[in-house]
């Protein structure tokens, strides 16, 4: 497993040269695979039980999106733990010492590739597990992946996972990757019912292949819909925050790599436009420049964010101008992991730009549009966008 620590920009990776209208999987195939992958991971009647002995990596197994399973039987609870995910007004949000990022420490970004990420057109769960395990150990500096997850997430905590299941898009955070993350959390001791996968609307999650589970056994999965709490202000404009987020102690931000006609890039920071009900208020000029940073600096978001796990298993290099505005035009084999959402975005921007340029496109606009909000984010101490301040770790599996 070669490991290179580099402060250089990411070089272009393998590229299939497809046009934006040629996705690798048909929507029907994707949804079928995704649904299969979530059958047990998100909505079955059999809760996944955390194990004290398992690693988060699967043995070789099916190529479809099976959840991370544990080979060691563990006693199962007789009742489904309750987790209402209602706002926790007196919540004590902790920040594990392990989390280091600019300006208090060095911001590290792990960029992990796996040659076996795709197999026969489907994501390989075992490869995803290996990518997550290698990334979390590289990020934390710990030797054991399960211990690293456990050091970040306690069994008594509720963990929200913000995915990107945007309705104007047909490229979403991949269900098998999310399933692998929920499996790793459970292996670390987090109860499945304390994990909530969420986005803006429940219907979007369904469209993106996630199986809804509001209150049954297993990992919970539903959208904010209209369930927000008011009282927040971003860029001198009022907004609300999702109670899916406010009902949790910790947050994992799981965006997918896409270009954007106004922001240039949509990845970690912009993923939280799906955590508020009025994203349209922050899509223009100065309000985007300040809004992107200030939204992510709101304490309920900033303090809960334990990890960014970015999905670059596919990407949208060229946004569309008619529906669907984003679809896969690149098939990749990588994920990005960081404690610093700004650093994750800075690295993601370089990755996106290099891929676009390798495909004959002009990335000047992407960089030009992203630079102001990245700079704003760094200026308020949310993280760093300067590549020379980022410890970039490249992993090839």
């Amino acid at each position: 497993m070669p490991v290179n620590s580099s402060r250089d920009a990411i070089p272009p990776r393998r590229h299939d040269g497809r046009s934006r209208r040629r996705a690798q999987l048909s929507r029907r195939d994707f949804l079928a695979l995704a649904a299969a992958g979530l059958v047990t991971g998100c909505s079955t009647g059999t809760p996944q039980i955390p194990s004290a002995t398992a690693t988060p990596v699967l043995t070789s197994g099916p190529t479809t999106a099976a959840p991370v399973e544990d080979a060691t039987p563990t006693p199962r609870p007789t009742a489904v733990p309750t987790a209402t995910f209602t706002p926790l007004p007196d919540i004590e949000v902790r920040r594990p010492d392990l989390i280091q990022r600019y300006p208090d420490g060095v911001s590290r970004v792990v960029h992990a590739h796996h040659d076996g990420a795709w197999r026969d057109g489907a994501l390989a769960p075992e490869a995803l597990g290996e990518m997550l395990a290698s990334s979390i150990t590289a990020l934390t500096g710990m030797d054991d992946a399960r211990a690293a997850w456990a050091s970040l997430f306690s069994p008594d905590e509720r963990v929200a996972i913000k995915v990107n299941a945007f309705r104007n898009s047909i490229i979403w955070t991949h269900v098998p990757l999310v399933t692998a993350v929920t499996g790793a959390l459970q292996d670390a001791g987090v109860l499945p019912e304390h994990i909530l996968i969420f986005d803006y609307y429940t219907s979007e999650l369904v469209e993106a292949g996630f199986a809804v589970n509001r209150d049954g056994p297993g990992v919970r999965c539903f959208g904010t819909d209209a369930d927000y709490s008011a009282g927040f202000e971003v860029a001198d404009y009022p907004t609300k925050l999702s109670n899916c987020l406010l009902g949790c102690h910790a947050l994992i931000n799981m965006p997918v790599l896409k270009s954007h006609m106004i922001a240039g890039l949509t990845f970690a920071l912009k993923n939280h436009y799906g955590t508020i009900p009025n994203p349209e208020a922050y899509h223009y000029g100065a309000r985007m420049e300040a809004g992107m940073a200030q939204l992510n600096a709101l304490p309920p978001i900033k303090d809960r964010t334990r990890l960014v796990i970015g999905d670059a298993l596919t990407a949208c290099l060229r946004y569309g101008n008619s529906w669907p505005y984003w679809e896969s035009d690149y098939t990749g084999d990588a994920i990005l992991m960081s404690f610093d959402p700004v650093a994750a975005d800075a690295v993601a921007l370089e990755l996106l730009a290099s891929l676009l340029e390798a495909d004959g496109g002009n990335a000047a606009a992407l960089r030009g549009m992203a630079e102001p909000w990245l700079a704003s984010s760094r200026a308020i101490g949310l993280g760093t966008s300067h590549l020379d301040e980022i410890d970039l770790v490249e992993l090839s599996l």
Binding site: R28, N168, T266, P279, E280, S322, A364, M369
Partner: protein, 290 residues
């Protein structure tokens, strides 16, 4: 005398109303432009027609609404249809302020894989198509897209498009500016008629500060050319007067956007070439503007 005046007034009103009705029957509502049940055999509406205006467009195209505001968006109607096999087909009818806006949005969105096949279909003023998936056209001040999520027989897509076209007012001509760009060396399908920088920024990044000074009285066209074996972009902007063109040229030169090779004005027209080509070739292309 009073009777004659009244008769003349009646005749005048009848002529005016009759003339208007013949030239461009205005749709009673944008929802009515979408085909109803059984308009195309085998397809039924999957949901009520949804409409959006400039205050609600973000609900339909959150994150991309600016692309439509750049062409003076007024409203849009969206209808979805299912066949017996569960295949879903979606129709969007976009109403813009002018025929130029409709043409511009059409050019901005044109990315079809089969321009020849699209050209052979007698619907609208210009067409763009991906066989089995999509047909788009513009007519009068409307831009229409019919799109299937899964492959559908082209004749079904065409049937839906024709239903919409028949319900739309006729008319609309390409803006004069478009014809001023030289045809020789122009990459087919690359032309974009625009009103704001955002419509061309993925081809040419000008900094997002409106250095061209585009406003309601100006408009532009961009096309890709092959010069010296390499890609280059020609931008032409028509201003209301020479002073506005000169001012824009001064701002553009001062901004020094990446890739700018040559820029000149000719009366109220500004031309600029971007790319990795020689200054000589770039200047020649600018001077070929009609």
């Amino acid at each position: 005398m009073r009777v004659w005046r009244l008769a003349l007034l009646v005749v005048w009103v009848a002529l005016v109303l009759g003339g208007c009705a013949t030239a461009a029957p205005a749709p009673s509502s944008i929802e009515a432009l979408l085909p109803g049940a059984d308009a195309v055999p085998g397809w039924t509406p999957a949901a009520d027609v949804a409409t959006y205006d400039d205050t609600t467009l973000f609900e339909l195209v959150n994150g991309q609404a600016e692309a439509f505001f750049a062409y003076n968006f007024q409203r849009v109607a969206v209808g979805t249809y299912d066949d017996a096999a569960g295949v879903n087909l979606r129709i969007e009818v976009w109403q813009l302020a002018t025929t130029d806006d409709a043409y511009g949005l059409f050019t901005r969105n044109a990315a079809g894989a089969a321009p020849d096949a699209a050209a052979a279909v007698d619907i609208g003023n210009d067409r763009d198509a991906d066989p089995g998936r999509r047909l788009a056209f513009w007519q009068d001040r409307y831009y229409v897209q019919v799109r299937a999520r899964e492959p559908v027989a082209d004749d079904q897509i065409v049937a839906f498009a024709r239903r919409v076209a028949d319900a739309l007012p006729r008319g609309g001509a390409r803006p004069d500016l478009v014809s001023r760009l030289p045809a020789e060396g122009q990459v087919p399908g690359s032309l974009i008629f625009f009103r704001r920088e955002i419509s061309i920024q993925d081809a040419v990044w000008l900094g997002g500060e409106n250095v061209l000074g585009l406003d309601a009285e100006s408009s532009g066209a961009l096309a890709q050319y092959t010069l010296e074996g390499r890609p280059a972009y020609l931008i032409a902007v028509q201003y209301p007067d020479a002073a506005a063109a000169e001012a824009a040229l001064a701002r553009l030169v001062a901004a020094q956007p990446g890739g700018l090779i040559a820029a000149e004005t000719d009366a109220s027209l500004l031309g600029a070439v971007f790319g990795d080509v020689s200054a000589t070739a770039a200047r020649e292309l600018v001077r070929e503007l009609q």
